[in-house]
């Protein structure tokens, strides 16, 4: 059955259903209780599941992740909310030195099924440390699964999968898409949403493949609309999983279009696009008609919000990059 919901509501529903299904699932974070989170993603959960399962934590991000690791070792499945992307850095130590390594360190005998939800990215006119795209740090860390949702139904199923996963998952939510609504299908088979780890072609096209994740998927779909007016047919792939990468889906598309653009808000150097471009050059060297193009944030810290519109990739930049692939 489908209903029209916002991404925030879809994530809320995924948490609710996961908690109903498994009483080991807990929600932890700053202001997730009575307030329902600063984005209202956990709204009503504490009322329904109680303070034992929906836990307002002290203001200590390292503490949130560190104690979740302990609870996971005891048998719980904590789903953490880091209030804003920039606030994950005090928890970086626990995520990288502990959460990511528990299975490896124990030769596979211990698991820490913790999900770390992080609203990420810019475009909401906010102050410093509220518009970051830190995904590459985590994708660069072996032992973590890293995913990014782009729309309500995807967010719902990705989160359900993340909570089921026995590996720790860093779950990125594009905050500027929280209030965009879409159809939510809560029957998995009918939803057509692939399992966590898979990418998905979200728009078919002929001339060039555009790969994106999170908020940039919407931007790339807009670029595809724009492209149609200019006679350029873009195929848009929602990467969904940043670690591991589903290169089969990406390569299958690029083998056909022979051109690729990779898009993210995060700075360019050593970002996700660099990895994907490298893999495409490895696998499709003889098929590519042009070097893989990158449309990204610039290699400077996120700017003051009054100028973020110039910083963030938009449909025009994506389309111009796609056009460049025809100049070779």
């Amino acid at each position: 059955m489908t209903t029209k919901v916002s991404m925030a509501a879809a994530i809320n529903l995924a948490l609710r259903h996961a908690m109903e299904r498994d009483d080991k699932v807990l929600v932890m974070g700053e202001d997730v209780g009575a307030l329902g989170g600063v984005f209202r993603v956990t709204e009503g959960l504490q009322k329904n599941f109680g303070e034992d399962r929906v836990i307002d934590t002290p203001l200590a991000e390292s503490g949130i992740v560190g104690t979740a690791i302990g609870m996971a070792l005891y048998g719980f499945r904590p789903v953490l909310e880091i209030q804003f992307d920039g606030f994950v850095f005090p928890a970086f130590d626990q995520i990288v030195t502990q959460l990511a390594r528990m299975r490896y360190r124990s030769r596979g005998t211990l698991t820490t099924p913790v999900v770390v939800r992080i609203p990420f990215g810019g475009g909401i006119g906010s102050v410093e440390h509220h518009s970051e795209s830190p995904e590459a740090y985590f994708a660069h860390t072996p032992g973590l699964r890293v995913v990014a949702a782009s729309n309500p139904v995807d967010a719902y199923w990705l989160l359900r999968d993340a909570i089921e996963s026995d590996d720790p998952v860093i779950f990125f939510e594009p905050k500027r898409r929280y209030w965009q609504s879409g159809e939510l299908e809560t029957d998995r088979a009918a939803s057509g949403v692939p399992p966590m780890g898979s990418a998905q072609v979200v728009r078919s096209g002929e001339h060039c493949t555009v790969v994106a994740y999170g908020a940039m998927v919407g931007t790339c779909l807009a670029a595809a609309e724009l492209g149609e007016e200019h006679g350029i047919s873009l195929e848009v792939i929602d990467l969904r999983s940043l670690s591991p990468l589903d290169m089969d889906t990406v390569a299958r598309s690029v083998a056909r279009t022979r051109r690729a653009v990779v898009v993210h808000e995060a700075p360019r150097s050593l970002g996700m696009a660099a990895e994907i471009a490298s893999r495409l050059h490895d696998d499709l060297y003889y098929d590519l008609e042009a070097p893989v193009q990158r449309v990204t944030g610039y290699d400077i810290p996120y700017p003051p919000s009054r100028v973020e519109e110039d910083f963030l990739p938009d449909a025009h930049r994506v389309l111009r990059a796609a056009s460049r692939t025809f100049e070779y």
Binding site: P58, F87, P303
Partner: protein, 364 residues
């Protein structure tokens, strides 16, 4: 006024009565009127900025209403050679340090990350990361001590630092590490905690089981618990702590017990999580009203003084409204110059790419 029984230092009670006349005698009428004036203007500054946010001129604002005494009282104790590090709510401290309120707005409007020149005002800019600056304050103070600028023959040459933070910050690792460093190096730093009882939606009890001032004992430094809505107690306690720091006596932790009357920020709605009864009780302890009551009783608050002050507040509001809209817009191209001492060829290429793109789409 507090869930804990530990004593609270108070010089001026909510009714405007001096509870320790001897200590309060240290304040001249002129000084009392000055503190009153500061708080009234600060309340206007805060209300004006809140209104500007409501009108879409600011992206966000963190109101300080209710915390005027804690900020004005403590900041007025700082000397010109002292330095402050603050969170994002200390508009009153910035005001006392001489920062133009219009410059404060630039941060919240999104035109710049650092709203004023720290060295010029003896105060670093707004810090968003909770508690991060407590370490910076401690390190700055360690620098002061290393440079020999404590316990000098001429006391006017002494320097010290005040770190401003809230009850929630006490839970962060950085704050606790700052206390450890400050203690073991005997750094000339004052930790000024405005316990306003709420970290967004989380009450004080989510951060601590004991009064925050007891943190001082845990690391072996001086601690004080004061009425944060009593501007005289805030001034006196901070003066004492700074005197200790200046003379080589090391750090002090001050817990100023106050209340966040408004929302966490303009994006917050406190009616979702807190009781209006609690708010009503705190409104009876207003920091400005009690000083007004004292001044009236002393005959120091004439109609003329009040009228002048109202006019000044009105002028401040007008200046903020006009200044906000005229703040220079940031230019992304310029931002490329600030990430490194020298811009490298690679980044220069990206900068050129930006210019080329903006020109191509007609946004240059």
């Amino acid at each position: 006024m507090s869930e804990f029984e530990d004593p609270i230092v108070q010089l001026l009670d909510p009714a405007g009565q001096l509870s320790d006349a001897a200590a309060a005698g240290a304040f001249s009428t002129e000084q009392l009127v000055g503190l009153y004036r500061d708080m009234v203007l600060l309340r206007r500054l805060d209300a004006e900025a809140t209104a500007l946010q409501r009108h879409g001129e600011l992206g966000l604002w963190a109101p300080l209403k209710g915390q005027e005494a804690a900020q004005i009282g403590s900041a007025r104790a700082l000397g010109p050679r002292d330095f402050a590090f603050s969170s994002y709510r200390e508009h009153g401290v910035a005001y006392v340090r001489g920062v133009d309120p219009v410059d404060m707005l630039s941060f919240w409007r999104g035109t710049q990350h650092l709203a004023w020149a720290p060295k010029k005002f003896g105060m670093y800019g707004y810090q968003i990361m909770i508690g991060a600056h407590a370490l910076h304050a401690t390190g700055y103070a360690m620098g002061i001590a290393k440079a020999g600028n404590v316990d000098r023959a001429d006391p006017s040459e002494n320097e010290a630092v005040v770190a401003y933070f809230g009850d929630g910050a006490n839970s962060e690792g950085d704050l606790n590490e700052a206390l450890v460093f400050a203690a073991v190096y005997n750094a000339p730093v004052v930790f000024f905690c405005q316990n306003n009882h709420w970290a967004i939606s989380e009450p004080l009890t989510r951060q601590t089981r004991v009064p925050l001032a007891r943190r001082a004992d845990g690391v072996g430094i001086s601690g004080m618990r004061i009425d944060g809505n009593d501007v005289l107690a805030c001034y006196q306690a901070t003066s004492e702590a700074l005197e200790r720091a200046h003379s080589g006596g090391g750090p002090t932790y001050i817990e100023a017990v106050t209340y966040r009357v408004g929302p966490h920020t303009t994006a917050d709605d406190p009616t979702r999580y807190r009781d209006s009864v609690e708010l009503d009780q705190w409104l009876l302890r207003d920091p400005i009203e009690r000083l007004a009551a004292l001044l009236r009783a002393q005959g120091a608050l004439s109609a003329e003084v009040e009228t002048d002050l109202e006019q000044d507040a009105e002028a401040l509001g007008e200046r903020m409204r006009a200044g906000c809209k005229n703040l220079p817009e940031p230019i992304l191209d310029e931002q490329f110059e600030f990430a490194y001492a020298e811009i490298d060829p690679d980044l220069r290429r990206q900068r050129a790419e930006l210019a080329e793109h903006l020109a191509a789409v007609g946004r240059a």
